[in-house]
């Protein structure tokens, strides 16, 4: 949502700058011909609010009364070019507004607002098979708990919108993104990415935002477990490590090495 607002803001700023350039250009061009700055300024501002009509030379009659016939053709040409530019800017701004309220972005907005209003909820950072399994299990609970997901993969974001799972798009190592998921008001946060460094940063940022939050984290290496606990994790799981042990023990049992 923050990125979306920023993108739309950039479009509006660009449109404003372009329209100012066109107004100044038109003013200079008309001044060169008419030598009457007040009349030119009035006319340009007036036509800015009447761009569609002026671009079609709808006010030809008005122009013919104001300027001598020998200058009318050139003035009319400037006014038409000027107003075509304004029409383009208007279209540009309308496109930006449509982009904001388009279906996909509206879903993003609703999802972001939903996540922002959550309290005592569970945040899952990173969406992968482990996260999916965990969400499925949480949804089997009789008492339903609100869950928000943070992920920066566009495909995952679209998929979770489709499944009506509140998602905040972005990196969970960014405190602003954590705040958008209301980490400051959440009860539990779970980091399930397969990247220990990212998870570690996530734990630090989550604890900084909310000292009371319960932090569960996944680690791929045993040596990183102590680091996770040191920065405030309440529990650390090692899925690959556990799998290695279970396969090793199975093989010991079935090869006769483990009596």
């Amino acid at each position: 949502m923050a990125e979306l607002t920023e993108k739309s803001g950039n479009v509006i700023i660009s449109a404003t700058i372009i329209s100012l350039i066109i107004i100044i250009f038109s003013l200079i061009a008309l001044l060169y011909i008419t030598h009457n700055i007040y009349l030119d300024a009035y006319y340009i501002i007036d036509t800015f609010f009447d761009a569609p009509n002026s671009a079609a030379a709808g006010d030809l009659a008005q122009l013919s009364l104001l300027f001598p016939p020998q200058k009318l053709a050139i003035i009319l040409s400037i006014v038409i070019i000027d107003n075509i530019g304004k029409l383009l800017i208007i279209s540009f701004v309308i496109a930006a507004v449509i982009d904001i309220i388009s279906y996909a972005n509206l879903e993003k907005y609703i999802s972001a607002v939903h996540a922002r209003r959550m309290r005592d909820h569970i945040i899952i950072c990173g969406y992968n098979p482990l996260a999916e399994r965990l969400i499925r299990k949480l949804n089997t609970l009789k008492k339903k708990h609100e869950i928000a997901v943070i992920d920066n993969n566009e495909e995952i974001v679209v998929e979770l919108h489709r499944r009506r799972i509140p998602i905040v798009e972005g990196s969970f190592t960014n405190p602003k993104i954590l705040k958008l998921a209301s980490a400051d008001k959440a009860k539990i946060i779970v980091f399930v990415e397969q990247d220990d460094a990212k998870n570690l940063i996530g734990v630090v940022e989550a604890k900084r935002l909310n000292k009371e939050i319960k932090v569960l984290v996944r680690s791929t290496k045993e040596e990183n477990m102590t680091k996770m606990y040191r920065v405030g994790a309440d529990m650390c799981v090692l899925p690959e490590y556990i799998a290695g042990i279970s396969i090793g023990e199975f093989l010991l049992k079935h090869t006769g090495a483990h009596k």
């Binding site: 965990l134 290695g244 010991l252 090495a257």
Partner: protein
């Protein structure tokens, strides 16, 4: 890998594979690793662990690791499809071999069993159980 009999082949020396190798070596089980990454192959050679450099899904690498005389095989690569492929190849080369493998995706658990795996570890399953139990405590 000549001279090896009743040994265990470990395919993939990632986080899971490394743990398996450590456990087996602790119990003095003969191990041969198949690894595609040259850096890891060098590391294994430095540690004195027999290693075949190659793709564990191919008959060539499995034969080189002595699959015909092996007692068991641990297929522990990151990619479920590769694990399935290696399971099928291993079973076709040695009907009696004991196969233990891993699945990241639920869908592959039954596929690997159907292909001949005797044991399938699902890292996400055990981890999600642990996380779930901890979450319930905190709610």
């Amino acid at each position: 890998m000549e001279g090896y009999k009743e040994h265990v082949i470990v395919c993939g020396y990632g986080i899971v594979g490394e743990r398996i190798v450590d456990i087996l070596l602790e119990h003095k089980v003969n191990v041969v690793v198949i690894e595609i990454d040259h850096k890891k192959v060098e590391l294994l050679r430095d540690r004195g662990i027999p290693v075949v450099e190659g793709d564990a899904t191919t008959s060539k690498a499995l034969k080189e690791a002595g699959i015909a005389d092996a007692k068991a095989i641990a297929i522990a690569m990151d990619d479920d499809a590769k694990n399935l492929f290696a399971t099928i190849t291993a079973k076709s080369l040695n009907e009696n071999i004991i196969i233990a493998t891993r699945a990241n995706d639920d869908l592959f658990e039954t596929k690997l069993t159907d292909a001949g795996a005797n044991f399938v570890a699902t890292p996400n399953k055990s981890a999600s159980d642990e996380l779930f139990n901890e979450i319930i405590k905190g709610l």
